[in-house]
Amino acid sequence: MAAQTAWQFKEGVAPDAGSFVPAPKDSGELQQIAGRSTTYWSDAIRRIRRNKLAVVGFWIIIALFVVAIVGPMVSPYSYEDQDLDNTFQSPTLRHPFGTDQLGRDQMTRVMYGSRISLAVGIVCAALNFLIGVTYGGISAYFGGRVDDIMMRIVDILYGIPTLIIVILLTVLFKDKGVNPLVNVFIAIGLTYWLPMARIVRGEILSLKEREFALAAKTIGAPNNRILFRHLIPNAMGPIIVTVTLEIPAAIFTEAFLSYIGLGVSAPVASWGVLASDGTEAIRSFPYLVLFPALAISLTMFAFNFLGDGLRDALDPRLRQ
């Protein structure tokens, strides 16, 4: 009620009656803020809750994680248990997804495959944060010559199609005898941070000119504190969106590499390997390719749905 005196009239000064009406004495109440103020994040969560596809994507991802963790534990079969009397079985109660050419339970194999795919997604996201965010942040924060050189390197790497770099690195590491899954991690980790570096650089370039960055500098905060405590947390929206949209790309790459025989190889069941085996038997046993194909597609939908929703919710420039 304190903020109300502004409208009051002085005693004795007659208002020109009819042309304006004095404001009611409690007008200050109308100006009080009702409810809690919304922050950037609560606003974003509210927006994303309203986006049905994004919510569906979110729950599919949660379900995938549950299946990947719990599924293989409760399954009566292992991914490499062979049952040569029951090869190429159609889906039954005992084998809901059927069995493959060696009588291995397809459902168990698909569940193991989800572990590989999600691991690839998590590693890709982690490396994106570690390399991409740091690289882009340093490049933008120090600017000048440093920025020029660092971004020229990114430009050159950008000129080469990612898949070719990944293929070459996989060939190299495979012959070095590195575990194929680690191969894929290294190859994806070394290449998929490029878009992140560019986006973070763009964000930091504008953030570092803002007053709070200047304030931090005036009180003598060291560079790494300003960069990692003040600037990067403020760029979190675009960073999260980019990560969410890079994850399906990484999962796709792993499946693609395994499909052409460069990634994870048998008997470990990556979705790419399963799809590749299934493709060979497509004329006689089409269900064999069906389930891994559904699993890959569903995972990619889910991440893309969520990523799209996050972009609409978090990226203020794209708000309509």
Binding site: P161, L168, F256, I260, P286
Partner: protein, 310 residues
């Protein structure tokens, strides 16, 4: 403009040289040589083979020789097929891949852009939701799954087209649509959002206020301005079509360069991997350059501005 072109040509040459050198040394780093087989070859034979391909020279000399030959356009012999050179392989495979790629790009532009415009004009209607949902599915389904799906439905199920092979018009349909799937979906989403943005601009209101027909407003005034974002993504899309051909050519048994590339990787045919990688990078870098030129030509605002810190 001239400075822009010069700058880009220099950086193009630099990129290709870096790719060539990096790939060269990577191939030489591999512990298993090109002649390690399951059955070990006698030492003398390996020695003779190494002498024939100059593998006994010091590494720097091999590198200099390779680069010299590269400048003349000679990519050397294939380790796997003794009677063929890498140039032979590219000459055989590339026309096939290029034909497939061109058809795919035409399909992508011819279907993706109209879909996006249609979606934008019916914003939030059921047509729009349908187009956007299908487009989101399109960017989510991996190309090798798309290939299998299309083959299963249209070849094995409905018997409309042959399942695989190369040579007739009918055989190009499935692989071309597979390759175009992702670009169609991507373009539809991009065109829709750019169209929505353009339609809110004041010059569109002006055009409508002048009493122009809706058709003229869309195709004369709006379309030209959405072409710019479309052209900028053509580079990555062309790359997607080319790398997609690695797996699509394998599935549909098409004798293109992508299939040779994958085969050479599985065969450890190092000179072919090296040569084809350099060829692909040079091609993509060049196509990106053409895209950039088109971009500068379409948008007069870019033409005279030096490429500063973007």
């Amino acid at each position: 403009m001239l400075k822009f072109i010069l700058q880009r040509v220099l950086s193009m040459i630099l990129v290709v040289l870096i790719v060539a050198s990096a790939t060269f040394f990577m191939m030489r780093l591999l512990p298993s040589g090109p002649f390690s087989r399951e059955k070990k070859l006698p030492a003398q034979i390996i020695k003779n083979l190494e002498a024939r391909y100059h593998l006994d020279d010091p590494l720097w000399k091999q590198y200099v020789d390779y680069m010299k030959n590269l400048l003349r356009g000679d990519l050397g012999p294939s380790f796997k097929y003794t009677d063929r050179t890498v140039n032979n392989i590219i000459n055989d495979g590339f026309p096939v891949s290029a034909a497939l790629g061109v058809v795919a790009v035409i399909l992508a532009v011819g279907i993706g852009i109209p879909l996006g415009i249609w979606g934008a004009l019916k914003q939030n209607g059921w047509q729009d939701n349908l187009v956007m949902f299908v487009a989101l599915l399109g960017v989510s389904v991996p190309n090798f799954i798309m290939a299998v799906l299309l083959m299963f439905i249209f070849a094995l199920g409905l018997h409309l087209v042959p399942a695989a092979g190369w040579g007739s018009i009918k055989q190009i349909i499935l692989p071309a649509f597979t390759l175009a799937g992702y670009p169609i979906a991507f373009l539809a989403r991009l065109v829709r959002s750019s169209m929505l943005e353009v339609l809110r601009q004041e010059y569109i209101t002006t055009a409508r206020a002048k009493g122009l027909s809706e058709r003229l407003v869309i195709f004369r005034h709006a379309l030209r301005n959405i072409l710019i974002p479309v052209v900028t993504v053509l580079g990555p899309l062309i790359a997607a079509v080319f790398t997609g051909s690695f797996v699509v050519e394998k599935i549909f048994a098409i004798p293109g360069l992508g299939r040779y590339y994958v085969t050479s990787i599985n065969d450890r045919d190092y000179t072919t991997i090296l040569g084809v990688t350099i060829f692909y990078s040079a091609l993509l870098v060049f196509l990106n350059f053409m895209v950039d030129l088109t971009y500068a030509w379409l948008d007069p605002r870019i033409r005279y501005v030096e490429r500063k810190v973007s």
